[in-house]
């Protein structure tokens, strides 16, 4: 789950973002505490706090004093919009690059995607 590719706090933020997008954490749902994240992922609590704070700064989570962290209303939609923007660069660009390396034309690629999404 946690790897060495980037700072752990960024990975924690992404894991929470994924849960918000997939609906595991619904709007207005309470997010586990810093200490719960630390214990679950076996990481330093300060690092877990940094990841959560980043989402608070982005307005995706909000604090209720003395109670905990909650998912902001509208957070899933905002995250989805962000991910759509990155979709071209993250997925389509490497896909077309590999396809052209293998001599797969655009039409063939489209056909393959259609077949793939049917199965």
């Amino acid at each position: 789950m946690i790897d060495d590719s980037k700072p752990i706090f960024m990975q924690i933020a992404e894991l929470i973002e994924n849960d918000i997008i997939s609906g595991v954490l619904a709007e207005e749902a309470q997010v586990p505490s810093t200490n719960e994240f630390a214990a679950f992922y076996r990481i330093n609590p300060a690092t877990a706090a940094k990841g959560i704070n980043r989402l608070v700064e982005d307005g995706l989570l909000y604090k209720k004093r003395g109670i905990g962290m909650f998912v902001t209303k509208g957070a899933p939609q905002r995250l989805r919009a962000q991910r759509r923007e990155k979709f071209q660069q993250q997925f389509i660009a490497p896909l077309t690059a590999e396809a052209s390396k293998l001599g797969i034309g655009v039409d063939e690629l489209v056909a393959m995607i259609k077949t793939g999404s049917e199965s």
Partner: protein
Amino acid sequence: MPRTTAIATRELSKTYKDVKALDNVTLDLEPDRIYGLLGRNGAGKTTLMSILTGQNYADQGTAEIFGHAPFEHDPTLSRICFIRESQKYPDDFKVHQAFESAALFFENWDDDLAQELVEAFALPIKRRIKKLSRGQLSAVGVIIGMASRADITFFDEPYLGLDAVARQIFYDRLVEDFAEYPRTIVLSSHLIDEVANLLEHVIVIDKGQIVIDSDAEELRGTAVTVTGDTAKVQEFIGTAQVLHRDALGALASVTIKAKLDADQREQAKLMGLDLSPVSLQQLVVRSALSGSTAQRTEERTEARK
């Protein structure tokens, strides 16, 4: 708000005969953090911890714990717990007697926590300490170190003889207890990969000198290994600082000190190069030690796995 520094050293030096155990060590450790003190055997880790806990003295420089020199200063010493790799206990002591004396010395001692850990490690508390196995002896040290809840706790390779399951119990309980009762913990370990995610700050010492003193998160992702056709790898890395280089025929695998952005990653992909992350352990080994020594250490680490 400025906080009192937990540990402060200034130009600390210590020489044994003709060996410089500590060479001009200047450090500031903040309270309520988990520090990793890493380095090879004989690098100076234990000497540093001995001086910080008042069990040894420096030839030059100063060491202060919460603003006081620890040597023979009882109010300071009662705030420090030092668990050595081969911790000694009075010979005829039984396990529970070791805990009872620790409870008298450490005012924050938590007996419930000690009991929980005894069960977790399946430690026979009525047995004489000299009859314990190496792993059980280490468990006694781990339990005293944790249950003392001292303001500063030093663990000097506390895991000798503990199997993988017992070590995981130690790490898990340490994170849990630290989250609830924050305090300063200095963890000296060779098993860097196992403890990497627990550390907030990393200090690497080599030949008595501090070679890395950095936030663990800042270290992460500061190096990358580029693998592929030698000429293309060379073109891609340009003038970046090389930490390590492996070659296999026309293939090169080079670890460089660099933080790559998305464009650079994309470019590497287009050039047919593979990028792989570098673990904290590799980073420590490769940036702290130069050339052949680094390679030998790496081989030893591999051999142990």
